[in-house]
Symmetry: C2
């Protein structure tokens, strides 16, 4: 039997397994809102400058700064420029009432805010021959120059950018209505086990309801993956093989999946369906020095990357969070890495030597973390109360109350 | 003119405006996966215990601990219990091969792991009259008792829980296929301004593309809100009023919106369409001591809660993040509050006295934060490069390089 692999080494192996796909992933053009949370496929250059024209940063008077000597000057008030209008050129000796965002007229080079004018209110637009006292103003004052945010042709967003509200807002400001994004990875998710039953069925003795399926499908959906489910496979390796083959073949015209994830059947018991089904494949089953989630499968099924997670629900979640999710973040930029922080233990803790333990806990407002449930990998209720994974390195066996630990916020 | 209101006071006002709705929000029954990210509407009690039956925590032998004296004993090996099977009762003097998760037979009270048996491998299931040497074992060893995670009838999740993968996993483990969640708030989002044009149209002089609409719709969707858009309203108050009235009336049989958010038209210029449209409503327009996003509108339009954000896109995002999003988190538990951390300034910074400044920045892996763009509220490209909002309190006017600041991770 091989020595257990470290958490970091197994994560590296998952990254290596999946990194070949970054280059081959295909793209699609989506309307902006549908692209929320997806990854930009190409370098995107600005089709226009922002702002598209010089505009006022304040409500005030657009002037030619040369018209106002150091002591200030009285200027005649021209017709106002509301936002959205294309103004006439400024005549010498005039000041133009202008609103925030409105276009600076030709001939004007500065804006005097309304508060600094005398009188400090806008005249009635109908009134004629009105004058206003304005102080001297440096050229460029309160003018947002065309292209001061971004110049036409400049790189607006590099390929690989995750598109959130601010990025989509920029694309809209640039006049775009659609964007080319990477297609999400397609994952085949198969839960296995004779004891596992679809929720909603009648529970007979010895059976449990499948929670791994929804736990992982929900996690993967949040990460932007396209999840294909095939129901629950029982402990017959031939039937599991038939399910897997049905999703990797390309000769039947279906788009094959990019990744296979199974749960259960990777341990050392007498009925390990995933191990048995993978016997003829380039798949390794190995212990990782982690608790829970120690037994892991990794390799390729008919060339398609494969990960075999253990069967207990908490082990499944920990396997996903420790290996697959960080690999996706690293390779695809989505999902965003979990926020990592430090917290003080609200209670003392023991951890097995030589194993990286991942406990579930609640980080409290005072910065302490309370453990939820024990180390047991079947404790779903405790997991559902938690807001963080508490990381106990493999060389730590005992921690006192108040010790600082790393926590990953869920 | 009133004195500017503090950021905290305005946030409190938004919370107060919206908190009346928590009680009246209606609920809906959804399949588990569709409930991802939504809020549980009722206290949910476990319809069964987890685990539903005592089961083995290890691959090994189920025994009656009383059958093995201190020095160990040779026991006869019975037919194995795979996971998912309902085993026969244990006969005195026998040990039953049992797999992880499999049901503990009646009469057995402990499990000896396979590693501690001699021989330490399972016998061929076909072989007869095989014996195994087992050490003495305390009752309960490696047995997960029925109900040790949660007892039937116990509170599984309280009303108000946000349903993530772990919570949905628990519901599935309890055999549930659907769950009662709170219906999301319906928000009417209206962008205003004669200068604002739908992306994709032909850009004429003085016009800019609407980015506020998608910026806020994407943010609100991420927060789980149901967003109704009505296109762009121009600067005619009568037309804006017609749009708003169309969404608040209940006599036409349509479900009225729960909240109205507008952008633009709340400042002190000569053409402030939102101010004008709200003249006869219980709506206040006031300065908040914040930059950007100072001018804010708040109140009720025909009884429906109303927020008027300023027109610049960065001001819109900051208004949403500083006021509406925290209020939703506090009242509805969704979205989760932004992770807050501290970072060192990579450069010195000035901030106007008496205003809480919200700058955009990138928190770097070394824990420092670099400013993106200046303070200008029109800098969309700079915003789109940022990963954090940098909070500069109103009493701070100058910060040296290396100073610690609070950052909200976007």
């Amino acid at each position: 039997m091989s020595l257990p692999r470290s958490v970091a080494a197994h994560r590296d192996a998952v990254v290596e397994l999946l990194s070949g796909q970054a280059a081959t992933t295909s793209t699609e053009q989506l309307p902006l809102l549908d692209a929320l949370g997806k990854v930009l496929a190409v370098d995107l250059h600005a089709p226009l400058s922002l702002p598209p024209f010089a505009n006022s940063q304040m409500d005030g008077f657009a002037v030619n700064s040369a018209d106002i000597p150091d002591g200030g000057a009285k200027l005649r008030v021209a017709a106002p420029v509301p936002a959205g209008a294309a103004p006439e050129a400024l005549k010498p000796g005039y000041a133009v009432p202008i609103m925030t965002g409105a276009m600076i007229p030709d001939g004007a080079d500065a804006v005097v805010p309304i508060e600094r004018a005398r009188p400090s209110t806008f005249p009635n637009p109908e009134a004629r021959d009105v004058e206003v006292d304005l102080p001297a103003t440096a050229p460029g004052t309160y003018v947002r120059n065309a292209g001061s945010d971004i110049q036409e042709g400049e790189l607006a967003l590099p390929a690989g950018t995750c598109l959130g509200p601010a990025q989509l807002g920029l694309l809209a400001a640039l006049g775009l209505t659609a964007v080319e994004v990477r297609k999400p990875l397609r994952v085949l998710l198969v839960t296995t086990g004779d004891e596992v039953l679809e929720p909603g069925r009648n529970l007979t003795p010895g059976k449990i309801y499948d929670s791994n399926g929804i736990l992982l499908e929900a996690s993967m959906r949040q990460a932007g993956l396209d999840v294909v489910r095939s129901g629950i496979s029982d402990d017959d390796p031939a039937r599991l093989l038939a399910v897997l083959r049905n999703h990797v073949g390309s000769d039947d015209g279906k788009h094959p999946v990019d990744l296979i994830v199974t749960t259960g059947g990777v341990s050392k018991g007498a009925y390990e369906v995933v191990r048995q089904a993978m016997a003829a494949q380039h798949v390794e089953f190995l212990p990782v020095a982690m608790q829970p989630g120690g037994p892991q499968g990794i390799g390729r099924f008919e060339g398609v990357p494969f990960l075999g997670f253990p069967g207990n629900p908490v082990s499944c979640l920990v396997s996903y969070e420790m290996f697959l999710r960080p690999a996706l973040s690293l390779i695809h930029g989505v999902p965003a890495p979990r926020p990592v922080q430090r917290a003080r233990l609200a209670e003392p803790l023991r951890s097995p030597e030589g194993k990286h333990q991942v406990r579930r806990g609640t980080v409290l407002p005072d910065g302490s973390v309370r453990m939820e449930g024990g180390a047991g990998s079947h404790l779903m209720h405790a997991l559902a109360r938690s807001n963080a994974l508490v990381q106990i390195p493999s060389d730590v066996t005992e921690l006192a109350e108040g010790s600082e630990v790393e926590v990953w916020m869920l």
